[in-house]
Symmetry: D2
Subunit: 345 residues, 4 copies
């Protein structure tokens, strides 16, 4: 079978670099072009030294792009939408890892991104790249909008309760501990190692942009509030959400909901052992993997359920679910290129 040729635009960043890593191990993809304005002419291994011995690609400028089968866009937010016509000229399939095509509601986009959407007519063509919620729409899709990382961790944590229509009586508060790689590749004062190392720092107490995605994907029936904290890890998100279940619902019902909705998912692992240090999800175990581990604990007295989800923000939170979505779109085995199982310890 012929491999699809892939161009990654913005491949020197962390999202693009991660897609590159995954695609290099994918039996149906052949990465032939990687762009970086700043690094054009240098080997990808100069920026992504993990790929030494695995790839001889050199960065080119976006202006040097040639036609291929798939264009993967890993540009800063706003760039993909503004230049989408240009990129559509190169390939029939486009995967965008930015926020540009995730939000369907123009008002929500404006509210959270501070400007009118640059290409509103395009939006309907794109499928939100969350395989667990949109698998059917993804089949055959040629426009995949990779979901946000924090949004993904929260959406996957709460989706079964919504889908099964559990009538939640109180607001949901979700806290995310987010690794430093989510801030991207450019050094800032906040990412400076002496400042960030060992720091536990709320960086978005209220009003996180990903709330737009959460509200879009989990519409309507219960208010959700997000707080984002910078953790000292490089990769990974641990989300904890406090959900109040109604009287009459038991832990067993909650279990049932998650098993029913996620029982066949290849990348969702429901974690609940009764004892031991690994009885809840931990992003440490997920570095490099496409898993989303989900667990919960119920306090019968108050009806509070603490749902915990863990992902690698660059894989299941960015490049991994985009690739999983592409696998679905192409009718391939969903796990191709995503087999890495993670390390212990």
């Amino acid at each position: 079978m012929t491999k699809l040729s892939v161009a990654i635009v913005g491949a020197s960043g962390y999202a693009g670099g991660e897609f590159l890593r995954l695609a290099l191990g994918h039996p149906m993809l052949n990465v032939t072009q990687v762009t970086s304005e700043r690094n054009a002419g240098t080997p990808v291994t100069f920026v992504h030294p993990n790929l030494r011995g695995r790839s001889n690609l050199k960065f080119i400028k976006a202006s040097q792009l040639q036609a291929c089968d798939v264009v993967v866009l890993a540009l800063p937010h706003g760039h993909a939408a503004k230049r989408i016509a240009e990129f559509e000229g190169f390939a029939p399939i486009i995967v965008d890892l930015s926020a540009d095509f995730r939000i369907k509601d123009l008002d929500a986009y404006r509210k959270h991104y501070g400007e009118d959407h640059p290409a509103p007519n395009q939006l309907s063509a794109w499928v939100y790249g969350n395989p667990e919620l949109h698998r059917e729409e993804l089949r055959g899709a040629t426009r995949i909008a990779g979901a946000g990382c924090f949004a993904t961790s929260v959406i996957l944590a709460l989706y079964p309760l919504l889908k099964l229509g559990v009538p939640l009586p109180k607001d949901i508060v979700a806290t995310g501990l987010v690794g430093s790689s989510a801030g991207g590749k450019d050094p800032t004062e906040g990412s400076h190692h002496p400042e960030r190392d060992g720091s536990l720092r709320v960086y978005k107490a209220t009003g996180h942009r990903h709330l737009a995605e959460v509200e879009q994907e989990l519409p309507g029936r219960f208010p959700i509030h997000l707080t984002a904290i910078a953790s000292p890890r490089v990769r990974g998100i641990l989300a904890t959400a406090s959900v109040f279940i109604p009287d009459g619902y038991s832990e067993r019902d909650v279990w049932g909901a998650y098993r029913e909705v996620y029982g066949d998912e290849p990348f969702i692992r429901i974690v609940k052992v009764r004892q031991g240090i690994h009885r809840y999800p931990d992003p440490k175990l997920l570095d490099g993997t496409n898993f989303c581990d989900i667990g919960f604990e119920t306090d019968q007295e108050s009806g509070r359920v603490v749902v915990m989800s863990a992902i690698d923000n660059l894989v299941k939170g960015t490049a991994g679910h985009a690739l999983q979505s592409l696998n679905i779109a192409q009718g391939w085995d969903e796990t191709l290129g995503l087999e890495f199982v993670g390390l212990h310890p």
Copy 2:
């Protein structure tokens, strides 16, 4: 002025070692005895190497204790209460760093600690060692029950809203990121470096014992829920609490409440600068200090206020507020021995 002689029982642990460190720099205290059953006969510096050059004390067994002015108990939970008569024979003043004398309600104690209180008749003699809430009761006190570390971070975060009677319409959810030193000195599977390093692990999703203290100190009017997460730091707690204020309350009102209640506190710093990476509390800045940094952010749309508090769990969370309480009890300057200002970076 004559110094008070101090004996620290259980000085090889982290709480006892921290009290020792602080007391060695205190102008009115003279530590003359330190006990450790396991390390009797060895220098304290064998266990606490930071004290090299500062202390020549050697550990003795508790059975070798002699009379002194102050006994500080740093024993595992349950031990102090069971042996309190014994320790009262040695000194007129007792400071206990365990949970034994914190909870006044016998039912709450039984519920959270799993057994009947060993010395219920003693409880009324003890003052809860939180200077901000109990300063007046602490004056002249001879029985000081050091408060719990996670409890302290939550109580200090929420106290002004309670004290001023703000009618909170919804449940409060508080999440604590807790350093590994809170687990004490004994190695376990969970504290094993290869397992714990880089881990973000919920360890008490619901039902944390410190809820008993929180409910005792912030009685009555709004349900509070706690979740505790093991952070990769050694020291420090970052607590974030989501509080919903009623319609008509503004951020300015919240500011006013915190300023009114904490404006003169020597160890509470209200942190709110409008920009920059240090605009919220961060336990990294507090290692070794007795400060509690408190900040908040208001989402006017939903009425949610995210209150953040940061402490060093071993200082403001354990040994520091106990020493501050002792300073108050003795009528000394409250800051004696607690002057260390913390490091940056």
Copy 3:
């Protein structure tokens, strides 16, 4: 082609767990038995939670072992040699990850391991599991003695200079920064997170046991001295060795030596870019991979060459080179099961 059935004895430890992880992804191996005396009856995922969804194996006791094709021994040092006759009854191929069969010289073994070798007659049957030095001997081998991790990092760093007979005029001093997983699975005071986190602690200043392996594999012509430092990482070794080259040798000659000896090695990457932050080896890039990255810098004035090598102590330092050796022994592609490329960042 029929897969080989594999039993891992001592699979709850880090070395055994890592071999299990690699073997689960190996197309020619089928792990059918894993033993752990302490965890018999529980799923492997209770101990190695990274394998959730990947393996349904349960631990058995060693006494329950049944015949298979390959036995992998991951026991504490000394156990394999004492029980080797027992294990030979189960399978024709044995891979030992301990130190028991690495040292051929009985005096060196006694000096470094403090007792007479328990099975001296066995030693000649075993091949030292370093593919770069012993590839030819490994072909067809049925007894593979996995090399030591620190030894491997030093041997691979220095081997080309020895092999090409460069007459080194001075002693070699090598320092290794070693991750905490090298200390194994059992919690100790030194591995307790509050003590180990952020610590930089020499743990073997002189007389490291792995010197026995280094002297055996790089025999005769220049004295080597080792110092081992505990680094704050969980995985990984960075070795730096100061080697003095004779007058008349240039950096180009050193380059030539490494390229000549390692040019075709699938898992050795000679790292030397002229600039940038990734111009030298870094174990951070190698977590989970079987690579050994090697670089060097020459000071022409003094003739000192600093050779740097980085490995993952559990992969290229333990389970990975053992599997690579087994691949060679069986005539398979050397890289089977070892394809993971590592992460950035």
Copy 4:
């Protein structure tokens, strides 16, 4: 007694900020001016949030400086020397924390700093700010050149062997593990948290500039080679040096040398306990302190002594020894402002 008024030029950096922290706790110093071109007009606590509640100073521009008693220069290398006449107009006492006045030999300066010294006539007025080697010269000094951090760790480790004239037969190789704060305040690609966290990266394999200081202070008799490795810590240096002692020298002789030379030093602690996890120096214990901990281990067979020294690079390596030097210069107690004892754990 009247306090000396102090101006810190370049106080927004890590060295200047650390001098500020120490000076704020010093009974004889009164910091009245702090300059930062970039932050002029903002409170020092915006940059150094640890000082909240401790200092109300605001940054001014250097052009706004007024006369005072002591000017402390914390500028990038090269700036102090070029502008020294300007700064001498403000105060009779100048302390420079940069490399500008450390190197007495103009050729060595040129070789290591890449240009001719900007103020060669000034050099003789400055005393190298290492109290252990230059205490007598420092008495009454009005020009103090703070020593380099890596240089300090190596010089203090080796000085006793030199002072006592031990005839060392072989080259000395010293390796330093250096915290990220040594790289200063400006974010770079190498200091970007996702890149630096968990990294073990040689950054100066050969030819480190501090060799100029080491050779100046330990002149003449044995070649020393330095390698600098970036450690994942923020603060701290652990230096290990391999020294070969001549036949006939015993460990006891080495002990004697260190005790004789350092026995009365207030900030050098000779660390050697026979067992336990704290038997060697560890920079973790020294964060915020002015101690230099020194230990060693002898291999009688090879005559190799591994000398280990640990410091906080910003205190004993920069601001602390400068303040200690100033204390000596002024005839004050050497430990004023430097009493912090360090934390465990």
